[in-house]
């Protein structure tokens, strides 16, 4: 392969790696704009109108106010869900009797449509931030738990034998074997959990809130301000993406395999 040919191939790879995703996204906006031309703005606002509304809301400070509220709830819910899932998942993976005792309850609880019963949660736990974080936690908990259990159980039996030969303490086995071995699976669970936590926060705000992106979207719905709804939805997408990407980046930093 000649040098110029090589260069061309590299350029092609770079083009397809970086340019194509942007091309796809801009394509969506173009098509969206074309379609919006034949509908009134309260049915389908054009991207330009959405951008205009976004700048309005940015200037009067309400965008930032609602976004911070949602982000805080999502992050707190994710944090609580992760801690809970780590502790319970590790116990389930290591102790048979805990597995038998709790697994049926945990799995059955996943049949509960948390979003549908959200009003009940607010009746039980009040209208504050706590109840919203709780709803996030409940939604985030299960996928992370499953990944913790799978990650810990899949540690190679030979490596476990190796640690037994050298009389490793439970703490040494945890820090030097189980955590590093389970990390890739764990990060996978966290990425799913991160996305779900934003959805959980929005669902909670839909039910009962005076702040947050869910509240803002509902406000838009009530006022037939569809552009505002779109601002909210796009912000939610951005939040979920940001969490997904930063957790992936964290995983990349931590995993040396």
């Amino acid at each position: 392969m000649s040098a110029t040919e090589k260069l061309r191939v590299t350029n092609q790879i770079n083009l397809s790696k970086y340019a194509l995703p942007w091309l796809g996204v801009s394509g969506v906006f173009v098509v969206w704009h074309m379609i919006s031309l034949s509908y009134p703005p309260f049915i389908l606002p054009s991207p330009l109108l959405v951008a205009e509304r976004f700048i309005d809301r940015l200037q009067d400070g309400t965008w930032f106010f609602h976004t911070t509220a949602t982000f805080t709830e999502a992050l707190a819910g994710l944090g609580c869900g992760v801690i809970l899932a780590l502790l319970l998942g590790y116990a389930i993976a290591k102790l048979d009797w805990i597995d038998r005792l709790l697994s049926p309850i945990v799995v059955a609880s996943q049949g509960i449509p948390f979003i549908a019963v959200a009003p009940l949660i607010f009746i039980w736990f009040g209208n504050g931030m706590g109840a919203k974080i709780l709803l996030c936690t409940l939604i985030v908990f299960f996928p992370i738990l499953i990944n913790v259990v799978v990650g810990i159980r899949n540690v190679s039996p030979t490596l476990r034998d190796l640690f037994r030969v050298y009389h490793a303490s439970p703490w040494q086995s945890l820090t030097k074997l189980e955590i590093p071995a389970a990390l890739p699976t764990l990060i996978g669970g966290l990425r799913v959990g991160g996305t779900l936590s934003v959805i959980g926060a929005i669902a909670a705000e839909f039910t009962s809130a005076s702040r947050g992106l869910g509240f803002m979207i509902q406000q838009g719905n009530n006022l037939y301000d569809t552009a505002l709804v779109f601002v909210g939805v796009l912000t939610v997408i951005a939040l979920a993406l940001m969490l997904y990407i930063s957790i992936g980046w964290l995983g990349h930093k931590l995993i040396k395999i």
Partner: protein, 268 residues
């Protein structure tokens, strides 16, 4: 290196029988006595319970009958003095070569050394070998910072061997360490192992299904029957050391080969 009949064995299996929960009997009344510094090779067809035997000798698996005696005491659990090299190299993929080799030292630091079973019974002060020295001994100099995914199968087994040796164990158990390697790499590693064994003089029990490898390395070859495994015969190897592969063309080597083959495939 030579056997002294009067010295007591450092490690012995006494009438070991192992039956797995599914009903297969892996070992039946297996007895083996290893003298200090001896190199024993155990050879037999696949599935004759050789790996089970090593797991019992390492204290990882308890037998249904019989006992393992290490240095005069019954062995009831794994002992860091008995190092085991696994069939697959069992390296931690997130650690470099050097970090993998150091693992036993790291785990030993906070070990409960007051526990009677974890004391290494060999009162002559044996300084912990310098990891660097061991790395060059197994031929891995220059690869200290490599990760296991960057190594070939033969190199991974060298790392596993260095890790098994880092604590200067009096006993080394090898479970078909070169089984998955190509013939050339295998010959080179076998020679390297013989050199290391002569340098460090640990009691070694090797499980293999290569007759050549067994003869090349061992002082004594123990021939095992198909499942349930028990001893069918023993052949003493009196070839001079250091050994080299040119010996495999000698009539003595050929005769040993024949003798072991005959034990493995008895005429009906």
């Amino acid at each position: 290196m030579t056997s002294h009949p009067q010295t007591p064995p450092i490690l012995s299996a006494e009438g070991i029988s192992v039956t797995y929960p599914n009903g297969t009997q892996a070992l039946r009344l297996f007895s083996l006595h290893a003298k200090r510094g001896e190199f024993i090779a155990i050879i037999g067809p696949s599935g004759c319970g050789k790996s089970t035997l090593l797991r019992v000798l390492a204290g990882l698996l308890s037998s249904n009958e019989g006992q393992v005696v290490f240095n005069g005491q019954r062995l009831r659990q794994p002992n860091p003095a008995i190092s085991l090299q696994f069939q697959d190299s069992a390296l931690l993929p997130w650690r470099t070569v050097e970090e993998n080799i150091r693992l036993p030292l790291e785990l030993g630091i906070t070990n409960d050394t007051t526990h009677p079973q974890s004391l290494i019974p060999n009162s002559q002060a044996r300084p912990t070998p310098n990891p660097q020295l061991l790395i060059s001994l197994v031929g891995l100099a220059g690869f200290e910072q490599a990760y296991p995914r960057e190594l070939s199968g033969g190199m991974a087994q060298r790392v596993a061997l260095a890790r098994a040796l880092i604590t200067q164990p009096p006993i080394l158990l090898l479970d078909e360490p070169f089984g998955a390697l190509d013939a050339l790499t295998r010959e080179r590693l076998t020679e390297a192992l013989e050199t290391i064994w002569r340098a460090l003089s640990m009691t070694t029990i090797l499980v293999t299904h290569s007759i050549q490898e067994a003869i090349f390395l061992a002082d004594r070859v123990v021939v095992c029957s198909p499942r349930p495994g028990h001893i069918m015969g023993e052949v003493a190897i009196r070839l001079p050391r250091p050994r080299h592969w040119a010996m495999s063309a000698t009539p003595e080597f050929g005769q040993l080969l024949q003798e072991i083959r005959a034990l493995l495939n008895p005429l009906p």
